[in-house]
């Protein structure tokens, strides 16, 4: 792989991982929200 390839792998890998993790917790958060009454999730 060329230098450009490794650089691309680093950037794509980093943001893809953070993005996947973010998506994962947001979706789990949606699911958990549905199980909990409103007064427990009055975020600011």
């Amino acid at each position: 792989m060329s230098t450009t390839g490794y650089i691309a792998a680093a950037w794509i890998g980093t943001f893809a991982s953070v993005g996947a993790y973010a998506l994962w917790i947001v979706r789990r958060g949606r699911r958990a929200s549905a199980l909990v009454p409103e007064e427990e999730r009055r975020w600011m």
Partner: protein
Amino acid sequence: MTIDPAPATAPTDLPTTVGGEPATRGGPAPVSTSSRATRILGALSLVGIAVLVVFGLFITPPDAELGETIRILYMHVPTVSAAYVAFIVTAVGSVAYLWKRSEFWDLVAASSAEIGVLFFALTIFNGMLWGRITWGVFWRWEPRLTTTTVLFLTYLGYLAVRRIPASVRTRATVSAVIGILAVVNIPITHKAVDWWRGLHQEKTIFGTVDPEMQGTQLFTAYLGLTVFLLLFAWLLIHRFRLAWLTERAEERGLDAAIAARRAEGAEEVAP
């Protein structure tokens, strides 16, 4: 449950630590972990990422010494810095838990550690890619990278402890102790590994912003740091709220189970 319902555990206390909006009471609560504060943080992060891509990959010139490989360091340095911030937050949360005994701090410590582990994994990944270009191999026993790996394993242990089924209070206390022991180990491991490699020290560029950086390079380095700290804050708030909701859902599940058992018992007795 065994946790004491101290006022500090109410979800409405969140913004005191994450810097949010004044309470907007009334109206429907969101069916998600997002709020106005996180939406603003998220938007800022996305804009930051876009600007970082433009600067890091296109505008900045290749480094005189490192060449194009400096572009990997624009990812490597912010992830490792954000990870250390995350572990310091975990340690603060652990100390605060042992002091205040509030569920809030326990969940902050847990959420922050998970994000720190993710960032450490990315640090190691980027460091290995950098090594492949620069040294021709994925791994050398470079001190910073070695330290990161040892600490990565330490915090995997912390997360593993949190997954052991136990009473809420036991889990929180044990995790807090481990969170404190682990953070104290960071400087000791650093020193030990530095000395260990001391005899054949290579010029190391990992883990710090190079003081000789100038102009757009320096700007990009600090921009990266800012973007990843914003991302960390966004992730921490969402992860905390998820942890909070999970605890509430479990409590409710438990209550429901107990109620069901009681109903059964009543039915058995009634006839």
